[in-house]
Subunit: 357 residues, 2 copies
Amino acid sequence: MSSSPNRFSGLPAKRSTSLADVASLAGVSTGTVSRALTRPDMISEATRERVLAAVERLGYVANGAARALAMRRTMSVGAVVPRFGGSSFPTMIQALEATLAEQGYTLLLAAPEHRQSNELAILRTMLERGVDAVALLSSDHPRDVFAMLGNSRTPFVMMWAQESVEGACIGFDEPAAAALLVDHLAELGHRRIGFIGGLTADNERARRRFQGLLRALARRGLELLEEATIETDYGFQQGFDAMGMLLGRRVKLDAVVCGNDYLAAGALSALDRAGVDVPGSLSVASFNDNDFAPFLHPPLTTVRLPIREIGEQAGRYLLARLHDRPPVPMGPLPIELIRRSSTGPKVDINRGRTSAA
Amino acid sequence: MSSSPNRFSGLPAKRSTSLADVASLAGVSTGTVSRALTRPDMISEATRERVLAAVERLGYVANGAARALAMRRTMSVGAVVPRFGGSSFPTMIQALEATLAEQGYTLLLAAPEHRQSNELAILRTMLERGVDAVALLSSDHPRDVFAMLGNSRTPFVMMWAQESVEGACIGFDEPAAAALLVDHLAELGHRRIGFIGGLTADNERARRRFQGLLRALARRGLELLEEATIETDYGFQQGFDAMGMLLGRRVKLDAVVCGNDYLAAGALSALDRAGVDVPGSLSVASFNDNDFAPFLHPPLTTVRLPIREIGEQAGRYLLARLHDRPPVPMGPLPIELIRRSSTGPKVDINRGRTSAA
DNA sequence: TTGTATGCGTTATCAG
DNA sequence: CTGATAACGCATACAA
């Protein structure tokens, strides 16, 4: 019953072909096979081909666990990233993955739904899996996390974070981004400014964004209207609801800044629903985590944030550490203000094409 | 120079504490330590505590490679997912990860930027890493992929796919979703219908979506306007451009269906830019991969697709296989039409609150 | 260039 | 309940 090949093969039967199998088929030793596969230049053309043929014939796939055990390295780095779905993290992670892949490293990812809950447990699992390095999100983690990292001598980096005594951080100047937005609004003559932002309590990035905003405003003798400041989870619905609340309070406002593009999209939707003229009677600006703020309607001013670049830099940093090289110095990550008019090429419905006369 | 503890510790020095260290500190054998950690009930209270204390004191973390080698299983499943960033995949993956985590499984993820390119290589890497099972996206893969999977006797599942002789598929009824949209538009009396969809050539899902649309239309004696049908990459900019092209062609249209919400967002933006009254003079409907179509402006009719559910079901299926149980039967995944009015609660700017009188 | 033998850190088997 | 000891599959120093 359980000997049929195509049966539900749980654990017991998983003895797949090994180096030894290949070796005997090729009529050489295991050592030779191993070298033929990982150091082709150390072996004669003839035997190498025999080995490769045997490998092919058997469909041999190396056992990573054994290899890792013998080599004391796994060629993989772990990343623990909370609340993964629907955010800008995928972009960052993919950049990280791509950068690591250039040097043959694989990314082992954990994306726990509930934050903090068991970050240490997750990290432990990763170390047990044998990751050579670790990428963390932000820099606020329990002491145990850093302790375990240090104890295991595993290189690590904190992404989307500013500075930390605990280790290296890759991030961008969030206050500078806030300043860009504030300057823009101020230049438009706006003075009564509201804010719909992320929850600062458990989100270091939202916190820095918020404080950057406050400081930029202060430099111009302005401040956030307290009754027009709302903290909420990042999300369309949340943005919609928050803007609804703001409107309900009937505060006089010149402009509203949104903590990210999800909030902005929801807020714009609520404004439209309420018949508010944007930007005629109210300007909206936004941080652009997810690269779609430039395409929202009505067009709004936004700052493009170097999310992808964080992933890349983090990857480079880790690779440097892994190769026992001093970390490469890295310049500041680029931040760019995108003004509201840059939605795309104009299309005139009355004339047909755009380019022709 | 290289003996300092806090130096760039590449590979050589990574001999961290092992079971043996713990054993000698606790004055027991390695076997005892192993059991104390993984089978607490097989050991006396007293020694277990001694062991745990030693573990704590040394900050011991198990070596997963060695464990995997000995146990012949890694408690992890791999997933290979192309074009990961900015799509609805994160949602699906997170659901998969969460489901697997319930049983202690870890998700090893590969998210290659370029599709097909080297799917086999990626799979090989995963198998080498020692994954116990694999989740694939869609069902169109090179033969080698299935061959390798079969050869290694690794349970696997195809997500977001319909049917395949190669193995199990988890997906939803894409044509049914298309039919919902078509029925809705037809009920509104629309007959001249266009489509801005994903590239069918290299995207099985886009293909099924497109064909489902054609059939649903045919059942009602309708067809897609050829000159109002555009294939493009999923994306805001692409949707914007595509709608621009459509407008440029000056085709008479009652409605346009968008292949996903990114395209829809771009299309709506282009329509607004062109001053087209939506839905007054043109209806827009959309497949909703990313859960934000319901929040777009102007509100459009959309079908909510069970993306998250795919991840969950795939996880359950894999777990069943991993535990050597027959796969659990699963009902059809839910699809829901969301009509354009359901953007959210209404907000009356003139009255303050919504709920009070 | 190739074969041999040892070690990698755990789990599992089998006595005690 | 606990202690030896043999796998696990591969890489590598060493010998040939």
